[in-house]
Symmetry: C2
Subunit: 622 residues, 2 copies
């Protein structure tokens, strides 16, 4: 199959999935009756149920099993917090404007589209230019404002809608801005991630955890990104649900107590080196990856394994899931290591979970900006003796010498590092005075030996004080769900042998929006009463269901329920026993009316398998 | 007890509750290390778990049991939607500004504070003025901009912080405003309620429900309210979680199929008349209330009962819960009836759930603004013959007569009501011409009989088309949770007989943030291993726990866990059997290590009661 055909197949498949999703209200373009807003989508009833199931399992798998501290912080965030985190200054995309209409575009998108179009459609393209365009595509994310602008100029790229000239690229901050309170003096933003809410609470959470490391905090919530021009449908949206974990750990000990439980697990990894050498992803046991230093530390590796288990458990195909390591240039300067869980869908490999060792960056930033030390303490078994520098300015003498500038001189003296202080001590002992630059005065002053005493003292320390490292797995819930739709969707011919293809989502029961449907075989009051009795017993055991008493043919009703990914259908064809049909095999068993709710509950909860109940109950052939 | 003492007691109680909540991180003032932001709070670990349990039960009690369609829409909302709903124009509070500092206050708060202070503290107050101030307090919510301004002037109210003069009151819109996309041309707001997301999707949801009424849609999500100056701590915040239900029903038939299941339920109601006559709330069976027309209809009554069951099940005291009917003047003009579930706490009776019959208002507003008809259809068993007015303008003649104004005349003719049209018909038949006012031209024209034909025709109608009524129960989750804290909090003396009082939250197991603690009686490796084994089996059955292996005394550790409202404590005092202690009775039973997880699971899930297991297992006396 050639590349063009493959692209067409992918697009046809995506069209079938998205069409089914939209028709069955898994999602709805938000505010549709008003023409919609790009990048905003609603979860309709089945989509909302899938999301709620994914989040419930996330809580079970991470928060409950790992004893994490879950918090829930507001989306509205004052500027000072996002200034500290760097988002006010750096959370930007480069934008160009149509110089006539004012319409905005992402600069990199236009360059990308230009290069792709040329490569695919310009048959007169020189080999040299083709190679250049391919190179541009490869380094697109690294291009500066000026470099992108130069490309747009040299390729003569114009506004796609009007062919008008474009402005130079300039950064646009992607946060939704607002104002807190009526004064207009307190700028705020809708948070671009949930993590900051955890970082600013570190001190309280550490205390709550008995002042012990390691521990993890978690948060599920909305995050916002005011995209310049959202594309890629459900994968690039302006408001989305994030589930984030911040695992705080001693930077000197990133081992994990439960690592041995998962060390034999192997999954696809695409290492930094393999990417450079253009080698494919390899299945590596995580224990080996950590041992060989491919993955930086046990805790990072532990979370990669837990993410792998989470994603495959909800129905992501393990062969279309890989962990790609960040290149040094795409990783934040402070990060120790970073791996993205990428899931392959018809849009390419999509980053769905980022797992980063962010070192001490975030806690340090908030310590610096807030003045509250976000640190951990480790008590030594017995006090340790350490040599400490002691700088004692003699305020009286300094006051006489410097008058109004005294305070600045004192502060500058106290702020000296060890090397500088010991040099001054030596100079003072040798010459009786020393030249000293006071930055806040922007001049040199002369310090005499009676103005300061500098010494080294032996002090007893009872504890080590340090800023913990943060290991952050961050889940884009909407993207995971979209990929899950693609991985579980398939079609099969209708029973009547015609051309019609029926759609099925093979969701695991855990994730299915509804666990079963209840269908009276024919419209009749007796069967309907049985159906309602079964419905009540399903509610009693907490199994969600949909009852369909329309006169539509049973085959058509099965097709409807398959299209919602409902794993089981109960068909009422008598008043004493009913059949249970499994979605993918289409096989049926016969069960007593009074037993059926608990049978369905056991299979959906995973207490029994479909094979178990097939063995226990008679097969029904329709 | 006099009123002042009662106030002091309430404040002391509130202080004890809030202090415990904050110390144990049920909540945390958001962005605390940066000085916080008024009206924004985080849920810390136990608070977040309580919230997540309340929401899970809400989903079970409403969405699952009533087969509702749950949706999940974005918070960012374009202006057009909130223009249609009326929020852009009317979601305001009246504000005054300190004329020197620019600080803003809610006008009604200042007047309220002034009146209360005068009444309580001014011992020279004349009986006449006291009566006036009491009247102002009673009608405060109804005062207009001008009336409030006049009160502020005549009482000489100044800015509380500076005593500076105040501006006249003016409306401040309470929505957080933002801009969607980079152009600055698409204003948007953070939604003030989740309901609009459901209304704009009515057409799709109705289709999803098989084009059948009644059905209900539900949404849980964040809502935002940019308060002028938030007070009352956790009860008046700028971002909060709402859970809203929109039940769509035929306006001609508001009966409810499950009404008989709850019609005997009785609870406190404070009717419109009882409020006017200053009579106390009465316990009335909801069946009687609907029958006597106290509650407008069965569906409204059904939801009141379901709300009562929900609130009391999570732990709200039924004697401090009442349903207060809105007075005609506090209800929106379109509403048919409205009841607030109010919960008494130390701040007074607090509106926690609003249950309103909003008639067809919302769907009509969005129909008008979007041009998409949000209507339902009822097929008649057989077609009905109806007389229909037919107005047929003769465009050729009108064109000749009115040239460029033809379109306006045609539209005006077509827009005539039945009465006006039949009068014109009579005039045309009698005189051959008629005077006709065209509003869009702002003048009268002469219509001749050859310019329009007006007739009544018998047409067959196959269906009735109508706008459904909406019955809306809307839950303020944060307020409910705060009241729950107050209703479940109590203190008891420490065991050692000293003065110390220990704090307890008597949360039902369903709601408790953690279901049990695991405590080795003394620090020893064997007991710790047993504790970890029990912890693993608790995780396996899905029971959240906290393990406490600190060397603190067992009594102190029980006190800590009581303060978090943990219902059960497992104490490891041997390697074969352990004790289970119930929080409120402090009684203990002895259970085998291998059985303990399932015993705790059964009592927390409600499969057995504490009395059941007390009977089954030997009592342990420590």
């Amino acid at each position: 199959m050639d590349a063009a055909q493959e692209t067409r197949n992918k697009e046809a498949f995506r069209h079938a999935v998205v069409n089914t999703l939209e028709r069955r209200l898994f999602f709805i373009p938000s505010f549709k009756i008003y023409g919609g807003v790009a990048g905003l989508y609603d979860y309709g009833p089945p989509g909302c149920a899938v999301k709620s199931n994914v989040l419930a399992f996330w809580r079970q798998h991470f928060v409950l099993e790992e004893n994490m501290l879950e918090v829930d912080c507001p989306s509205v965030t004052p500027e000072v917090v996002l200034k500290a985190s760097g988002h006010v200054d750096k959370f930007t995309d480069l934008m160009v404007k149509d110089l006539k209409t004012g319409r905005c575009y992402r600069a990199d998108h236009l360059v990308k589209d230009y290069c792709k179009d040329k490569i695919e459609n310009d048959h007169n393209l020189s080999a040299e230019l083709a190679a250049e365009l391919r190179h541009v595509l490869a380094v697109l994310d690294d291009l500066s404002e000026e470099e992108l602008g130069a490309k747009i100029k040299s390729y003569g790229i114009t506004a796609p809608d009007t062919k008008n000239a474009l402005s130079d690229p300039y950064p646009f901050n992607l946060m939704f801005k607002t104002s807190i309170g009526p004064s207009g003096l307190s700028p705020g933003f809708m948070r671009p991630e949930t993590a900051q809410g955890i970082f600013v609470n570190f001190k309280d959470l550490y205390y709550y955890n008995g002042n012990k490391l390691p521990f993890a905090a978690a948060q599920i919530g909305q995050a916002f990104r005011n995209e310049i021009s959202p594309r890629q449908g459900l994968l690039r949206v302006r408001e989305f649900t994030l589930a984030e974990i911040e695992h705080f750990v001693d930077p000197d000990d990133k081992s994990h107590p439960k690592f041995s439980e998962i060390s034999n697990l192997e999954f696809l990894m695409l290492t930094r080196e393999d990417q450079v050498s253009e080698r494919p992803a390899r299945r590596i046991p995580i224990g080996v990856a950590v041992l060989e230093g491919i993955v930086n530390n046990e805790t990072l590796g532990y979370f990669m394994a837990r993410v792998y288990l989470f994603l495959t458990h909800i129905g992501i195909d393990k062969d279309r899931l890989r962990f790609r390591q960040h290149q040094a240039n795409e990783m934040a300067h402070y990060a120790a290591d970073c791996w993205d869980a990428e899931i392959e869908c018809t849009h390419d490999w999509i980053e769905c979970v980022g797992i980063a060792d962010r070192s001490a960056y975030d806690l340090r930033a908030h310590t610096d900006h807030s003045g509250t030390p976000l640190v951990a303490h480790e008590k030594y078994p017995e006090p340790r003796e350490v040599e400490k520098l002691v700088i004692a300015p003699v305020k009286k003498e300094l006051g006489l010498a410097f008058k109004g500038s005294q305070k600045m001189v004192v502060e500058a003296l106290e702020a000296m590092g060890e090397k500088e202080a010991m040099e001054m001590k030596a100079t003072l002992e040798a010459k009786g005075e020393a030249d000293f630059k006071v930055c806040t005065l922007d001049k040199n002053v002369t310090i005499k030996s009676n103005m300061v005493s500098i010494s080294k003292e032996i002090k007893k320390e009872h504890q080590r004080v340090f800023t913990p490292s943060v290991i952050e797995p961050s889940f884009g819930i909407g993207r995971i769900i979209y990929c899950l739709y693609e991985h579980t969707f398939y079609t099969r011919p209708a029973r009547d042998g015609g051309e019609e293809q029926l759609n099925v989502f093979r969701f695991p029961s855990l994730i299915a929006p509804i666990k079963c449907t209840v269908l009276p075989l024919v419209q009749n009051q007796e069967f309907e009463e049985v159906a309602r009795r079964i419905a009540r017993s399903l509610t009693a055991v907490g199994i969600s269901y949909k009852i369909d008493i329309t006169g539509t043919s049973i085959g058509r009703r099965y097709a409807r329920t398959d299209e919602l990914g409902v794993p089981f259908a109960i068909t009422v064809d008598s008043t004493t026993s009913v059949t249970v049909r499994e979605r993918d095999s289409k096989l049926q068993i016969r069960v007593n009316v009074d037993e059926v709710a608990s049978v369905v509950k056991d299979v959906t909860d995973g207490v029994s398998t479909w094979a178990d109940v097939q063995w226990k109950y008679p097969t029904h052939s329709s």
